[in-house]
């Protein structure tokens, strides 16, 4: 596990007597990796855990093995947060996403360390965190722009004012990419919340550390509790619950497993969830970001209103 060895301290403070000997050993504080629901960091209600290891077989942490009930609790939190978050001004959402990037930037070192623990080389780890931060900035900028790009005033033939605008679909369940445990996670969450949705995300099973630490970043970023909920655990166990919950509006799945994809499609029919498979996306390239990802979790609403036509008067100036 992380930093289990007791390090020798080189600090020597004699006057006030905190440390007497130059060779005194300090016990490192281990981090408890908990899940993130409704702006809180509970342990899984199931009391279960699992121990992911890196390639060298080193234990990463005792990680919550989330249950179906945790998912249901998270959906309740996400649904409760939807009205407020979707009702925020787009400009305000933009600032919150920017704030997330600021917080992430500030904790870069920690993420690099965790990525390295999870088998990334140093330069790859640096690249991943930098891209993740930049991706948040990218979507922060989109929050108050994509609507203009994908809206329309429709030239109907009758005397009506008619316009179509995107609106968030609601609560989105996301099974995050297993490989790119940080960049993939950020890349799937950002467009969903940029558009005003709330979500419940299942982190990479084998590389869960960054997801939990990212939850801490969110928690200090002015992002209202419940907008993003992050669980750790096994996709094989949870994928079906992520897909058949009746209060979830859309599901995103990022792996290639064809059986799981088939199951997701079948179960999504229960309440006609919108289903998106991001299994062909390279998150490291330009194709890993676009406003079309935002549009996937948007609905188009068309509004009509009559234009007064008094006594057959023409529309001329």
């Amino acid at each position: 596990m992380e930093k289990t060895s007791i390090k020798k301290s080189s600090i020597s403070i004699s006057e006030n007597g905190i440390e007497k000997k130059a060779s005194a050993k300090r016990l490192a504080v281990l981090k408890t990796y908990k899940i993130y629901i409704g702006g809180q960091f509970p342990r899984t209600e199931s009391g279960r855990y699992y121990i992911p290891t890196n390639a060298a077989g080193k234990k990463l942490a005792n990680v919550c093995l989330s249950s179906r009930k945790d998912f249901r609790d998270a959906v309740v939190a996400a649904r409760a947060a939807f009205g407020g978050w979707s009702g925020r001004a787009a400009f305000n959402r933009s600032q919150v996403l920017y704030r997330m990037a600021e917080m992430l930037e500030g904790r870069k070192a920690q993420f690099i360390e965790e990525l390295i623990q999870q088998d990334a080389g140093k330069s790859k780890a640096e690249k991943e965190i930098n891209l993740a931060i930049d991706r948040l900035i990218y979507y922060a900028g989109w929050c108050d722009k994509f609507q203009q790009l994908f809206s329309a005033v429709n030239p109907v033939a009758t005397a009506h004012f008619n316009f179509s605008v995107p609106e968030p679909t609601g609560v989105v369940s996301i099974i995050a990419p297993q490989g790119d445990s940080l960049l993939g996670l950020v890349s799937v969450i950002a467009p969903v919340i940029a558009g005003g949705n709330t979500c419940v995300v299942l982190a990479s099973e084998t590389k869960p550390l960054c997801a939990v630490t990212f939850a801490e970043v969110l928690n200090s970023s002015d992002l209202p509790g419940g907008v993003v909920n992050i669980l750790t655990g096994r996709p094989a166990e949870l994928a079906s619950w992520f897909t058949d919950h009746m209060d979830v509006n859309a599901t995103i799945y990022c792996e290639k497993d064809s059986e799981t994809k088939k199951m997701i499609r079948e179960k999504s029919a229960m309440n006609l969830k919108r289903v998106f498979f991001y299994d062909q996306v390279n998150w490291y390239t330009a194709e890993g970001q676009s406003p079309y990802f935002i549009m996937d979790s948007q609905e188009i609403k068309t509004t009509w209103h009559p234009v007064e036509n008094i006594a057959g008067a023409g529309g001329g100036y």
Partner: protein, 494 residues
Amino acid sequence: MATKTKNNTLKLKFDTSWSYSPAPESKSAATIHKQYDLFIDGEWQKPTSKKYFDTINPGNEEKLSEVADAGTADVDKAVKAARRAYEKVWKKMPAKERAKYIFRIARMIQEKARELAIIESLDGGKPIRESRDFDVPTAANHFFYYAGWADKLEYAFPNRRTEPLGVAGQIIPWNFPLLMAAWKIAPAIATGNTVVLKPAETTPLTALKLAEILQESDLPPGVVNIITGAGATGAAIVNHPDINKIAFTGSTDVGKIIQRAIAGTNKKVTLELGGKAANIIFEDAPIDQAVEGVINGIYFNQGHVCCAGSRLYVQESVAKEVIRKLKDRIESLIVGDPLDKNTDIGAINSRQQLETIHKYLSIGKKEGAEMYESSCRLPGKGFYCRPTLFTNVAQSNRIAQEEIFGPVLAVLTFRTDDEVIEKANNSPYGLSAGVWTDKGSKIFNMTKRMRAGVVWANTFNKFDPSSPFGGYKESGFGREGGLHGLAPYLNLVN
């Protein structure tokens, strides 16, 4: 002059002997063959099963014609023809040439508008006024609108190239047979796809007439194939391995079956399904206009409209007045011969649908709601239903939750904005919604918060080719109409 009836409504009576003289449209302006084959690869082909089934006039239960029952082998033939046409002709054709075919189709529909309207009313039971003034012209306009998009797709999706998907399997319902065919075919072929379309089994005739128009327009063989049949034919289309895209309009139940059926395939799908639209009247609304809008919202096309305003929410302070006016207005609706130009409400589309409606009427009464129906006389033959409304309806009543698809209105009341939003959104559906108020800021508050794909404010049941249509939640996904109706038929490429 007005007299009080036993229902305590005011019945407008201009003169005791005054009534509308019959004004029937002539059937002779329409040609209906005795038998129709399948339109595959630009030709009329006999079904391999050699089986045909009757299509009747729901207005008098007389047989109009018989149409081929397409089996799996016929579906396969149609898909192969569509694939050939896609690879060899349609995909390669310059987009501006594609456009001209579609413009031509639009023009030919206009030329044959009268005939199409008559056939539509004969086969489906809708009033000729609606076929003539709404269904047929809107269908022609839809082709005309999408024709123009064919060579302009690069402007529709910023920073992306577009590619057609391939062969689209399209399954359409019986409530707007020709219009739904137009909604499906026009965007599909404008974007470069080819089509296998199946009209509903009770209303195949206008789609087959459209096939004749397609033939006459010299549209290359196989670009659009129109095959008839019932559910099994639809299933064969959905399950055919060489179809890239399913577009379905119909019930939510069948939509869910389709969503399950395509699991494990790469087929794309758009579903335009059921609805239970909330139509909200505030006390400051122009009440007479609102009542007219509510009547149009629920009794248009006998209530066989997925976006029908079937749940009326009236603010308590005006509920009594609104309900009285609705009852008065219902009394004045003319129910009868679909071909009569005076008819407001025509025939229910089929015996089966009439039974469904009757089932809901008895459910409504059993659940404790109060039923009011027009006192009009119904024709002896054919499938007819009086315009009906229920008062004292609870939010949880089945007639307030489930789609009836008939001329049946559930009336509920409310006091505050927040309350009515909560009630309006309390539905698995989210296709359309309506609001009536004179206050602009209230309109936007309502239209913004109602979870529905189409929201009508101080109007209802308005449609236009340039206006995207489609649902939230269990009303399906994807949009038809407008710029947003292009995406379901395209792959976006970097």
